[in-house]
């Protein structure tokens, strides 16, 4: 009879090993899935995980990994702070969109002026937009005790409608022959999110992601807010007794995650995506949730998890083109990754014992 016995404190060994174990298990299960679809599993797994790093076109694809991972890491770092404290911001996608609209709107409003200040102001506008959108569920939670999961989620749909309106209406390119979509930022140098080192995919958003990782690490290790976040998550009653102000925590966590998501949106729209279009939102806000968990809500872990997730995206695309693997298989694969992680996670919190006798 298998018994689960709670450990007094999470096991260090397993905390580091579980993500690796989860990835290996996913590779096996994913390989089985691909085999079922009639594709050679070894080739498929190799195309997804190995080729983008060391394969034929890796010199190009390695940079693309950073392009894909940058927004994921940036958003996930913000989300992880809230998740640790039990504050579930599920609407990062909406904050991402609004941040992009604010940032792009500011940039396009002053087109075609050239000035060193335009890009920094766009950055501020993007962060502000995301922060604003996250404040709605935050205030509703602190004032009215409304569930932030549902509110932030509903706001994602509202944000998507606003995006549609922006692309076809108020941000539409006046020289675009009536087609939806804003002016492309590649034709506006002062507002463009450029690659700092050409060919590596490292644009300002990626830089911001690295800064965010370091900042979050420092916050959690050294700052009182970080302590309060960790306490509120692990021992809510103790946090209450210690005087952690729940309102302030909610507002700070939602605000930070909203601002970071908005930043990610702004960097994406002025860089890789290039314009506000109806399909601009590609689900980074939701995938970032997986990245946050995959990284065990730890900034450094999130950095690695973001890169692994980016690998599945870029590699999955290659598998799609070269092997004819349906793109849905990659999505299922990513879901499986999270499942396995959650499943093996128990090893770090519980010890498995074999015992005779009746269970609970």
């Amino acid at each position: 009879m298998l018994i689960l016995e709670k450990r007094p404190s999470p096991s260090q060994f397993w905390t580091y090993t579980t993500p690796i174990l989860a990835v290996i298990l996913t590779m096996i299960a994913g390989g089985a899935l691909f085999a079922l679809l009639g594709k050679d599993p070894v080739v498929a797994i190799r195309t997804i995980f190995w080729d983008p790093l060391f394969g034929e076109f890796a010199f190009y694809l390695r940079g693309q990994l950073l392009v894909k991972a940058g927004p994921l890491i940036l958003i996930a770092v913000g989300l992880s702070l809230g998740f640790r404290a039990g504050i579930w911001n599920i609407g990062a996608e909406g904050q991402y969109i609004i941040g992009a609209i604010f940032g792009a709107g500011v940039g396009l409003a002053v087109f075609p002026t050239e000035s060193r200040w335009i890009f920094p102001v766009m950055i501020a506008a993007g962060a502000f937009g995301g922060w604003l959108w996250a404040m709605i569920p935050a205030i509703l939670k602190t004032r009215f005790n409304t569930n932030e999961i549902l509110v932030s989620l509903m706001l994602v749909y509202v944000a998507q409608t606003i995006l549609s309106k922006a692309a076809t209406g108020f941000l539409r390119n006046p020289q675009g022959m009536g087609f939806p979509g804003s002016r492309n930022f590649s034709s506006y140098p002062a507002a463009r999110n450029v690659e700092l080192i050409s060919g590596t995919g490292m644009h300002w958003g990626v830089v911001a992601a690295f800064i965010a990782v370091i900042a979050a690490y420092v916050l959690l290790q050294r700052h009182i807010l970080g302590f309060q976040i960790k306490l509120a998550g692990q021992a809510p009653r103790a946090a209450r007794f210690a005087g952690v102000p729940p309102t302030r925590l909610v507002v700070m966590c939602m605000g930070i995650s909203g601002a970071l998501a908005g930043l990610a949106g702004m960097f994406e729209v002025s860089g890789p995506a290039g314009q506000i279009s109806i399909d601009f939102a590609s689900g980074y806000g939701f995938t970032a949730i997986i990245v946050a968990f995959l990284g065990r809500l730890n900034p450094l872990g999130i950095l690695l998890a973001g890169l692994v997730m980016a690998l599945t995206y870029v590699g999955g695309e290659m598998a799609s083109t070269n092997l004819g693997l349906p793109s849905a298989a990659v999505q299922a694969f990513q879901g499986m990754l999270l499942f396995f992680l959650l499943a093996v996670d128990l090893l770090s919190n519980y010890r498995i014992r074999f015992m005779k006798g009746r269970a609970a």
Binding site: G169, M177, P272, D279
Partner: protein, 363 residues
């Protein structure tokens, strides 16, 4: 070494290795690649493009490798990556089949000057290896508008529109003008779905229109859902969009507009093979076979069928232009004088309804 130079050299090297000599004397073998915005199984827009790809394989046999395609490619950075990968892997000509790929196509084309890019329904050609192509769907709308005007008993035609872009507005105007020509009492109700393909939304839109008394549904969205909804009510008819949607014959699908990209794709790949390839901005219609009218079923009376087919032939022969004056804009101002035909420029940027259509174009 600068990465950009490395990539370009690699591309050139691969292009030479796989593509034969890419000069004006033609090529021995062409690798044609395709980028799709939706799934091949959508039975509509992407399906028809893939049919074109298959036609290329059939036409040229082993002189062409047209096996590479990528479906469900989102517009934006992902499109750029897919296009770059295709170019790096030796494609000689890449067809990007959605308007939203415009910036990605031009950006990648600039980095790979020896690869030809063909962008559907776009208007930007920043480098000379980018060509654009489209089809005059409004010609097809004229024919089905005539059938709609004749067949409607309630005099209400419903239009499920996708986005307020010139192509869609052209379709609305052409349908309305020709329905009204044969039936002066006809009215048009437009529902904006804000999607190209979302069966649930399209079904709901069709249902709402039918509940308002509409008995002919015209759609500029790509799924068969409106036809499925129309099938639930006896008196309602509709038309296949982008592909024939033959599963709904003989009713409610009484005819269809079929996008036939095969002639264009075969022509362009052929031009690469025989060395006559040049940059174009192609906008063909019924006459070149790019727009086809699907079989008009027996649910349509014989004289209406004859009228529609005659109109189709006249457009195909060039003797009739669907936008021939006198036509006024919705606000009453004159647009086309008596007998004048609309210049392509007006059509490409069309952002107004013609006189007689009630309602505003969403801004």
């Amino acid at each position: 070494m600068n990465r950009r130079t490395l990539m370009a050299t690699a591309a050139l090297g691969l292009g030479l290795a796989f593509g034969g000599s890419a000069d004006a004397a033609g090529m021995d073998k062409v690798k044609a690649c395709f980028v799709y915005v939706g799934p091949v199984g959508d039975g509509g827009w992407t399906y028809q493009h893939d049919q074109g790809r298959l036609a290329v394989i059939e036409a040229f046999g082993d002189k062409v490798d047209a096996s590479t395609f990528q479906e469900n490619v989102p517009e934006g950075a992902d499109a750029e990556r897919v296009l770059t990968q295709m170019a790096l892997s030796g494609c000689n000509i890449i067809f990007t089949t959605s308007f939203g790929y415009m910036d990605a196509t031009n950006a990648v084309a600039a980095k790979f000057p020896d690869v030809k890019f063909e962008h559907a329904t776009g208007y930007k050609r920043d480098s000379d290896n980018v060509s654009t192509y489209g089809a005059r769907f409004y010609e097809g709308r004229a024919v089905i508008g005539t059938i709609a005007g004749r067949m409607t008993k309630s005099n209400k035609i419903g239009y499920i529109a996708s986005f307020p872009i010139p192509e869609v507005i052209r379709g609305i105007n052409s349908t309305f003008l020709h329905a009204k020509k044969v039936n002066p009492d006809v009215t048009l109700s437009v529902v904006w779905a804000y999607t190209w393909f979302d069966p649930a939304k399209e079904a709901d839109a069709a249902k709402a229109l039918i509940e308002q008394g509409v008995d002919v549904i015209v759609q500029h969205t790509d799924s068969t859902a409106p036809l499925a909804e129309a099938a639930k009510t006896a008196r309602v008819i509709g038309f296949g969009q982008a592909s024939d949607m033959a599963a709904y014959k003989p009713s409610p699908r009484v005819s269809s507009i079929i996008d036939n990209w095969a002639p264009y794709y075969v022509k362009r790949v052929g031009a690469l093979l025989d060395g006559s390839y040049a940059q174009v901005d192609s906008w063909e219609g019924i006459s070149a076979g790019e727009v086809e009218i699907g079989e008009i079923t027996d649910a349509v009376p014989a004289e209406v069928k004859a009228e529609a087919e005659a109109l189709r032939d006249a457009i195909g022969a060039g003797t009739y232009h669907p936008f021939t004056g006198p036509i006024n804009k919705q606000d009453g101002t004159a647009w086309l004088a008596d007998g004048a035909t609309a210049p392509d420029g007006d059509l490409l940027g069309m952002n107004f309804y013609v006189e007689g259509i009630v309602g505003d174009i969403p801004q």
